[in-house]
Every structure is written in structure tokens, then in C-alpha cells.
């Protein structure tokens, strides 16, 4: 494991705040989209795109790139923000999100947006797609890896567990699933809508290597992704405990911000909170 400096961690945390500001502005300009689940996944996506993933913005279809599959498609603002800041397309394009004639669809479209690896929106399909990618990499004896970001709402979907069975059957140790465990889905708390706990036990019983982390601790995210890499013979799932709307005090843990944009006044307050933290 390569030691990551404190300076690097601080740099990533700063990047995550930048992405959060993008998420808020993107959803605000069109008054739609899903800020809450984008912000809960923001630190994970930042760690992946600015530290972990081997990708090339100049050559988005580079065959040996790592694949990031976003299964919780509604959180695409965080993906678009990361791709833009990583240089896959201009940052200015973010403000076309959800607008007509834009490459940045309300849910990810494959083949249109540079760097987007899958179509998502209907929940629960991304992990199976990731299994297919992982099988292909193994057949070709390639070293590229597959990362799949899942929502906890997606743990309701039967296909997620079909994919879990298949990942274990094929011992796909080139696949890491990351669950954004923010505890809230569209209509309320996950444990009220459809109880999931004990979630880690479920994944363990399905034959996965399970790691549980604080999904907002940048150092822990990076170290545990490394840990998943090192684990052989099983796919890994990282259950990342997160806070919906993380980073803006009045949005945190509020169900409404799953699918509601901020008002003008709220946006200013939110940006101020995020800007204040920038050194």
C-alpha cells in the first residue's frame, strides 16, 4: 500500500467541496435532479476519480482503463462534476445538466457523455453490468478493475442480489462494489420503507468480502479501496456509511433533498457553507 500524505488528503477534501458546489449549482439552475444522494456519494467519487481510477480523459475509451459504473443513476451530478473537473469535458458544460440538447442527461446515457460507462436510472442493474465487465477483463487477462457505486435504495431490488450471487460464483476479485449507505430513499428512511439491516451480514452470507467504512473519511475510503484490491478470491463490497446531503447543514439527512433542488436563497447559504471551508 502506498502511503498517502496528509497534503494529498487535504487536496482531495478540497476537490470534494468543489464537486459539491457543482452539484448544487447544476441542480439549482434546472430546479430538478437529485442533490442529496449526489452529495452523500461525493467523497467516494472524488477519491475514485482523483486518486484511484486509471482513466485517461484524452482517451475516454482507452481499453485498459478502470471502469466506474454508476448504478444509482440519479446521483449522476456527482459523476458529471468529477468527469468535468478531471477533464473529460468542459466544466462550463455542467450548467447544461438536464437541459434540452445537452450531453448531460437527467440520468446517465451511455455513448454520449465522455467517460460515462453505463446507462442507469432504473435502479438495480449496475452491479450485473459490472459483473459482465469483470468477467470480460478476466477472460482477457487484463488488470483493469471495475468499481460499482450502488445506492442503499437499490438493495431493495432483486437484481442487485442476482448480481451478488453471480459475483460470488465467479470469484470476481477485480470487482469492488461501494454502497452509499445514506439511509434515505425517495420516500423516507430505508429502514422504514424496506428494512435492510443487517446489511453487512447479508453481503457476507452472499459470499462477498465486506468492508464497512465512514464514507466521508477520505483517508479511510482510499485505504479500504486498497484493502479490497488486496483481497483475492472474492468480490469486495464496501458499505460506506454516509449522510444524505452531506456538506450543507440544512440539507443533511433531510428526505426532501433526495429529489429537490435548492431555492435561490438556499443555494447562497449552501455555497457559503462549502466555500467557508475552502482554505
Amino acid at each position: 500500500m502506498v502511503e498517502v500524505s496528509d497534503a494529498k488528503i487535504r487536496q482531495l477534501e478540497e476537490k470534494a467541496r468543489l464537486l459539491r458546489r457543482h452539484i448544487l449549482k447544476m441542480t439549482h439552475q434546472v430546479q430538478s435532479g437529485h442533490p442529496g444522494g449526489s452529495m452523500s456519494a461525493c467523497d467516494i467519487v472524488t477519491a475514485l476519480y482523483f486518486h484511484v481510477l486509471r482513466v485517461d480523459p484524452e482517451n475516454p475509451m482507452w481499453p485498459d482503463r478502470d471502469r466506474f459504473v454508476i448504478s444509482k443513476g440519479h446521483a449522476c451530478p456527482v459523476l458529471y462534476a468529477a468527469l468535468a473537473e478531471r477533464g473529460f469535458f468542459p466544466v462550463s458544460e455542467l450548467m447544461t445538466f438536464r437541459r434540452i440538447n445537452s450531453r448531460l442527461q437527467g440520468h446517465p446515457e451511455y455513448g454520449t457523455t465522455p467517460g460515462v460507462e453505463n446507462a442507469a436510472g432504473a435502479e438495480g442493474q449496475g452491479l450485473s453490468f459490472s459483473v459482465g465487465l469483470g468477467l470480460a477483463a478476466r477472460l482477457d487477462r487484463k488488470a483493469w478493475r471495475v468499481y460499482c457505486l450502488l445506492g442503499d435504495g437499490e438493495q431493495d431490488v432483486g437484481q442487485t442480489w442476482e448480481a451478488a450471487l453471480a459475483g460470488a460464483k465467479y470469484h470476481l476479485d477485480n470487482l469492488t462494489a461501494i454502497i452509499d449507505r445514506n439511509g434515505i430513499q425517495q420516500e423516507g428512511r430505508t429502514e422504514e420503507i424496506m428494512p435492510l439491516e443487517p446489511l453487512a451480514d447479508k453481503w457476507r452470507a452472499f459470499g462477498w468480502n465486506v468492508l464497512t467504512i465512514n464514507g466521508h473519511d477520505m483517508r479511510q475510503i482510499i485505504e479500504e479501496i486498497d484493502e479490497a484490491h488486496a483481497h483475492k478470491g472474492q468480490p469486495s463490497v464496501i458499505i460506506a456509511k454516509t449522510t444524505k446531503g452531506k456538506g450543507v447543514s440544512f440539507m443533511e439527512n433531510v428526505v426532501r433533498y433526495h429529489g429537490a433542488a435548492t431555492s435561490d436563497e438556499e443555494l447562497q447559504r449552501a455555497l457559503a457553507e462549502l466555500d467557508e471551508e475552502v482554505p
Partner: protein, 325 residues
């Protein structure tokens, strides 16, 4: 092109031709992979798996998973086939096909057996009569309905080389072989099986053989029937259909599929737009099937040569009232 059909035909399994073609493909190209769903022996992809054990993925009774895994394999450059019974592979998975394959344009080849009412004794739960409509309604999807075994083999090779998503339907029952491996085949064209000037019988799948039989019977009544084999239901070869409409003035379509949204609807839409002539649609009415032997069911649900003959007579009668040239 023959003027008389070569009855009796050999009765052959489309699945066997499918299996053999897959193996040929697998030998030629190491990127060919197959995903199955606990029906690999039945749809005969197991034969591919015996030859190439690391390239057949049997994911059990998880067809949504099967479809998405095939899409992932295709996204990483594999020539991915997914194959099971149509009711599971197509009906159970519709939104997964829609999002992972049609929307993405990933070149997954969905080859499903056990389509139509000829599935037989398993009954209505296993008889998918709606798949052509489901798949042709999806943007970017190509829909193939081979007439018989040899054409199924041709579809395997053509689909492998095709750049986009493909759905190919075939049958559980052994059906008449009316084409040969020597016949030309590409995705797109409609093929004339028999020339005729009074009426056109346009069919796909097993109904091509029924139409050839019907043409013989019509011949005995002094009616010259043209028979068209439409293996590519989408994108449709409308030029060939319109030519037949102009030259014969009346059309019958025939398919082992609901009349609600299959081949007949597609042809009727094309005809209505550009050259309206009477069209009679032979197929399964808007009902579920039941248990029975394949050929008993085809008789009971209106899929015989006699049904085609009757439809031809109706269409020709209506031609008297047809809107002009």
C-alpha cells in the same frame, strides 16, 4: 426461387442449427461468449459450453442479471450472446433490455427459443406470443424471425457481425425446413420464396412454410400467390413489401405471434402510409394460449395453411374496394 413448394419438407430443430452455428462462431473468434439462465441444455448453448467452458456463463434463474451481464461483456468488447426461453429472456427482462441494451446500443445478441404457441404442453405461462412487438417497439433494436433451422444458423453469423443490438426468436418445436444453408442471407432483405401476381403472402418463422402450403392450395383454385419470407421484421424491407402491394394488390401477413403488434402491424403500417391495399393479418388473436401439442395448438389458434387461404380470399375480395393507384 421455386414456383412450387417442395412438400413434404424435412422437420428440423432450429435450436440444433443455433447450437452448431454458435460453435462455428466460437471456433472462429475467441471473443464470442454466451450467457445462459438454467436452460442451457434445452436451448443447446451447453454444446458451446462443452467446447468452450470458460466462455459460457450460466447464471441460473436470473434473467435480468443475464441480460445486464451480457451488456457488460459487450461493453468490454465481447461478442455476447444471451439465450434462454423467450418468456424469461424477453418478457421478464423488458426494462433491463431497454436500459442496458437498446438505449446503450451495445451489440448484445438476444437469441431466444420457445417463442409462440408451439411451445406446447407447458401452457400459456411459457408461450410468449408478444415478443416481436415488445422488441420492435424498442429504438435501436433489430428483430429477426428466421423461417427455419438453416436461416437460424444464418442469423447467428449475421447477428455476430451486426454493430447493434439484435433479438432473434425461434421455436421449441421441429418445423419444416424451407430454406437451405446455400441460400443468401443478410439482415434487412425480405426474400421472395415463390412468385405470384394475385395476392402476396408475407410471413415470418414457421408461418413461411404454412404460406407456401397455402400458395399451393390457392394455385389449385386458380389464384397466383406470391410468398415473401420476412426474416428481418425490423428494420423492415418496406421496398419489397410495397413492390408486392403494387404488383399483387392484396396482402396477407402470417406470424406465430399476437396480431396486436407483430409482423402484421408493421407491414400494415408501411402499406397504409405509402400504398394502401387490403391487408389481412393472420396470427394469434388477443388471447393467451393453453397446454396442448404444438400442431394441435397451431390448428386451434388459427395458424394453419387453411387460415392463410381464407385470409387471401378475404383480401382479394376487399381489393374490389381498394383505394386507387
Amino acid at each position: 426461387m421455386t414456383t412450387k413448394s417442395a412438400i413434404p419438407w424435412k422437420m428440423e430443430s432450429q435450436r440444433s442449427y443455433f447450437a452448431k452455428a454458435l460453435i462455428e462462431l466460437g471456433e472462429r473468434d475467441a471473443d464470442v461468449v454466451v450467457v445462459g439462465g438454467d436452460t442451457t441444455e434445452s436451448v443447446k448453448t451447453l454444446e458451446f459450453g462443452k467446447k468452450f467452458p470458460d466462455r459460457l456463463f450460466n447464471v441460473g434463474i436470473s434473467e435480468q442479471n443475464m441480460v445486464s451481464i451480457a451488456a457488460g461483456l459487450a461493453a468490454a468488447g465481447k461478442i455476447a450472446f444471451a439465450s434462454t426461453y423467450a418468456v424469461f429472456g424477453i418478457a421478464h427482462t423488458y426494462n433491463v433490455i431497454r436500459q442496458n441494451i437498446a438505449y446503450t446500443k451495445l451489440p448484445v445478441k438476444l437469441f431466444c427459443s420457445h417463442t409462440g404457441i408451439s411451445v406446447g404442453p407447458d401452457g400459456a405461462t411459457h408461450q410468449l406470443n408478444e415478443d416481436i412487438g415488445l422488441m420492435r417497439g424498442l429504438p435501436n433494436m433489430t428483430v429477426l424471425v428466421p423461417a427455419d433451422g438453416p436461416q437460424t444458423a444464418k442469423c447467428v453469423h449475421a447477428a455476430a457481425a451486426w454493430k447493434g443490438p439484435v433479438y432473434c426468436r425461434f421455436s421449441r418445436a421441429n418445423f419444416p425446413t424451407v430454406t437451405s444453408l446455400e441460400d443468401p442471407f443478410t439482415i434487412g432483405p425480405t426474400y421472395a420464396m415463390r412468385d405470384g401476381s394475385d395476392v402476396t403472402l408475407a410471413a415470418c418463422g414457421v408461418m413461411v412454410s404454412r404460406c407456401l402450403q397455402a400458395a399451393d392450395e390457392l394455385d389449385g383454385m386458380g389464384v397466383s400467390a406470391r410468398v415473401l419470407n420476412v426474416p428481418t421484421v425490423k428494420p423492415m424491407d418496406t421496398a419489397m413489401i410495397l413492390k408486392a402491394a403494387r404488383e399483387t394488390g392484396a396482402l396477407v401477413t402470417a406470424e406465430e405471434h399476437t396480431v396486436v403488434h407483430g409482423l402484421g402491424s408493421a407491414i400494415a403500417a408501411a402499406i397504409t402510409k405509402d400504398y394502401p391495399v387490403p391487408v389481412e393479418i393472420v396470427g394469434i388473436e388477443d388471447v393467451f394460449g393453453e397446454s396442448g401439442e404444438a400442431f394441435e395448438l397451431m390448428d386451434k389458434y388459427g395458424l394453419t395453411a387453411a387460415n392463410v387461404v381464407e385470409a387471401a380470399r378475404r383480401a382479394m375480395k376487399r381489393r374490389g374496394r381498394k383505394v386507387g393507384h
